[in-house]
Each structure stands twice: as structure tokens, then as C-alpha cells.
């Protein structure tokens, strides 16, 4: 089976296994990347009449993010704080869930929230008053804002949080089912909120996100009587992309399921030695 290969002009073809094709077709602006030459395939420099030279790189595009994520993780571990990366589509109920979580846990745990938002402080404002340490990251920077939090952004916000005084830090990511799954920020646990209004097929459409998480909170269950949603189909689809995932059905609006979620969170802390030791 050949490897799929798409060019900037929209042409698509495959390479035979182990057999680079002569790379003499035109690219974006019509210039040949490498002039036609005998056996001028990938990795072969003999066909470059212009003296072009290939330099092997083999570097992960997310390498810098991953390095800073590791640095964040080291800081979290040194401070003894467990970090949860909370993700969802926009409007799935992350902030309402966090209010409920703060209500339940603020008396038992020292909590921090790192709030990612494209432009506003609206979400952070809704979380004030519970005694939690809150830091806001606005991701807007000219192009309408980044669609996710990445490790450098989280790192830049850490000086504004009293890490050593926290047991649990929840990172509320930007609402988006695609990008946040690609960028680890150094978290110990990944969780997401899925609202039943989103449709049963979402795990199949966004498998990277649904595969990436340890837990899915199935939110807005108070709306079940008003919807045609088939929750069994959702669970089937979810387990097709993430067989080991844990689910908890909740309603952040009514509070149903919130104790189970808070118990799960607390257990994550106590099963993590760096926090449980305190």
C-alpha cells in the first residue's frame, strides 16, 4: 500500500513502499521542488541541478510545546498540585460545572482555576467568590485568538498562581473540540464535558479529543425529557474511540452527579502520591 501524498496544487498520489517517486511535478508556484532527474526521489540528492541540498530534520512540530509542558509538569509535581485539563465544545457547560465544583470542594481542598478565554474575563468573573485562586489567560492576539491553550501560555500564567498552596488546579481550556486535544499543557488528568445537546455522533467526528481524555462528563441530562437524543448510541460511539474512558452523567444546572464527579476528582488526588503525602 502506497503512502498518500497530497500536493499544494491539490493533486494527490501515493508512494510505493520504499520507492520514492521522482519529485518533478510542480509545487505551489509552479517551480519544480527538485528538477527532473534520474531517480530524483525523496532522499536522493543527485538530481539537484541547482545545488539544492536536503537536510534531515525529523523534529516534532509540537516539540517546543512538549518541552514546556514537561517543565510545567515538573513545577506542578514539585508544588504537589494535581492538574486537570478540562476541555469541551463552546457552551457545553464547563464554567457552570466549575462553579458547582468550587461549591462542593472549596471547603475540603485548596483549589485553583486557570481560565483560558479568547477575549473576555466573563468566565473568570463567574468563578469569583469561592475562595479559589483564579488566573486568566486571554488567548486573543490579532487573529481572533488562539483556539486552545498551549504549554507556553499556561507557563506564562503560572507566576500568577500560588502553586505550592494548592491541592488541585483545574485548567479550563478554550471551548473547542479539535485543537485543545493536540496540545498538552503538562496536566496529570484530562477530562471533558460533553453536553447531550451536541448529538450522539460527536465522538466519531472528533475522535482525537474523545480519545485523549480519562473522563467524560455527560452534561445537561436534565434536558433528556425534551430531546430525542439516544444516550446508548453516544456511549457506543464513545467506547468505539476510547474503550477505557470513564463517564459520569451530570447536570451542572441542577447539581445532579456533581458529588460523583467531585469524588472522582478527589480520588485522582489521593491516588497521586505527590499530593496524597500531604
Amino acid at each position: 500500500m502506497g503512502r498518500f501524498h497530497r500536493h499544494d496544487d491539490g493533486t494527490v498520489h501515493s508512494h510505493g513502499d520504499g520507492d520514492g517517486h521522482p519529485h518533478n511535478h510542480d509545487h505551489r508556484d509552479g517551480r519544480p521542488t527538485s528538477p527532473a532527474g534520474p531517480a530524483g526521489g525523496h532522499g536522493d540528492l543527485s538530481g539537484y541541478a541547482t545545488g539544492a541540498e536536503r537536510i534531515q530534520v525529523l523534529e516534532a512540530i509540537f516539540g517546543e510545546n512538549d518541552r514546556l509542558a514537561a517543565a510545567n509538569r515538573a513545577d506542578f509535581d514539585a508544588a504537589g498540585v494535581h492538574v486537570v485539563n478540562l476541555m469541551s465544545s463552546p457552551g457545553a457547560g464547563k464554567t457552570t460545572l466549575l462553579r458547582r465544583t468550587l461549591e462542593h470542594l472549596c471547603d475540603h481542598l485548596r483549589l485553583g482555576i486557570l481560565e483560558g478565554d479568547i477575549e473576555t474575563s466573563l468566565d473568570a468573573d463567574r468563578l469569583e467568590g469561592f475562595g479559589a485562586a483564579i488566573a486568566l489567560i486571554n488567548t486573543g492576539n490579532g487573529f481572533g485568538g488562539e483556539c486552545h491553550l498551549d504549554a507556553p501560555m499556561v507557563r506564562s500564567a503560572l507566576p500568577r498562581l500560588p502553586l505550592t498552596d494548592l491541592d488541585l488546579l483545574i485548567v479550563e481550556n478554550v471551548g473547542n473540540l479539535v485543537c485543545p486535544a493536540e496540545f498538552t499543557v503538562g496536566e496529570h488528568t484530562r477530562a471533558m464535558v460533553y453536553a447531550i445537546t451536541e448529538g450522539e455522533e460527536k465522538p466519531l467526528k472528533y475522535p482525537v479529543m474523545f480519545r485523549a481524555v480519562d473522563l467524560v462528563l455527560v452534561n445537561k441530562t436534565d434536558l433528556l425529557p425534551h430531546l430525542d437524543v439516544d444516550l446508548d448510541a453516544f456511549h457506543t460511539n464513545l467506547h468505539a474511540v476510547n474503550p477505557d474512558v470513564i463517564t459520569i452523567e451530570i447536570s451542572a444546572r441542577t447539581g445532579t452527579g456533581i458529588p460523583a464527579w467531585c469524588d472522582w476528582l478527589t480520588n485522582r488526588l489521593t491516588t497521586t502520591s505527590h499530593v496524597g503525602a500531604r
Binding site: M1, F4, R54, I55, L58, F62
Partner: protein
């Protein structure tokens, strides 16, 4: 959706490896599980490299299919949908062999002098 920030990272990697030489082409491997749209990536590359020493460098994107090995029945398959189950036994315990790549594999450089009036070689944050 984050193709622009991907391109910024690619430009940083390429600039570092090119060490001042003129870059003709950049070769990427992108796994099909990566949610990267090739046309968007190419478009963002033009934006991210405009008026930089990389403005003439083309992106060559090698799309890597999703290959799995089933831990239950040991079958190997290439999946053409993101439904991660074994086509042979319908099992879900899979080893993802390929499909998550996101690498700059190589660059092509030549000795064309970079115009001296180019702005700084470092891509903007």
C-alpha cells in the same frame, strides 16, 4: 484549526536547521488523525512566511494513513475512517502504528543568496 500556530512552529524549526541558508522546500509528515487540513496549512504557511527568508519555501505534505495492529487478533489494517476498531474482529484494543505523526522530516536548501533587505530571519511570535 490551529494551522497558523503549526506554521509558526514549523518556521522556527526550519529557520534553526537552515542556519541562514536559502530554503527551497520543507517536507512534513502529517498523520491523518491530526485534524490538519492541507489546503489550510499551505495557506497559513504563505501568511506565516510572507516577507521572511522562508517566503519562497514550498511546503510538501506527506499524509500518513492510520495504520493499526489489533492486540486481540493481531491483524494489521489501514483505516480510512476515524472509527478505531479492528475491521477483522471489531476489537477496540488497538496499537496505533501510524497516523499521529506531525514532523518536519527534512528541508531542501540551496545557495541562492537571501535578499539583504529581508526583515529579521526569526519568524514572529
Amino acid at each position: 484549526m490551529h494551522e497558523l500556530s503549526l506554521c509558526t512552529s514549523v518556521a522556527e524549526i526550519v529557520t534553526r536547521h537552515a542556519a541562514g541558508r536559502h530554503v527551497v522546500a520543507v517536507h512534513l509528515q502529517v498523520g491523518q488523525l491530526r485534524h490538519v487540513v492541507p489546503e489550510t496549512l499551505t495557506f497559513c504557511w504563505e501568511i506565516a512566511t510572507r516577507q521572511t527568508p522562508l517566503a519562497e519555501a514550498t511546503l510538501d505534505i506527506d499524509h500518513v494513513p492510520v495504520r493499526i495492529e489489533c492486540r486481540t487478533c493481531q491483524a494489521h489494517h489501514i483505516l480510512d475512517t476515524p472509527l478505531l476498531h479492528c475491521p477483522t474482529c471489531a476489537g477496540h484494543d488497538l496499537h496505533l502504528v501510524t497516523g499521529q505523526e506531525l514532523h518536519v522530516t527534512s528541508i531542501e536548501v540551496d545557495d541562492t543568496p537571501t535578499p539583504p533587505d529581508h526583515p529579521a530571519a526569526q519568524p514572529q511570535e
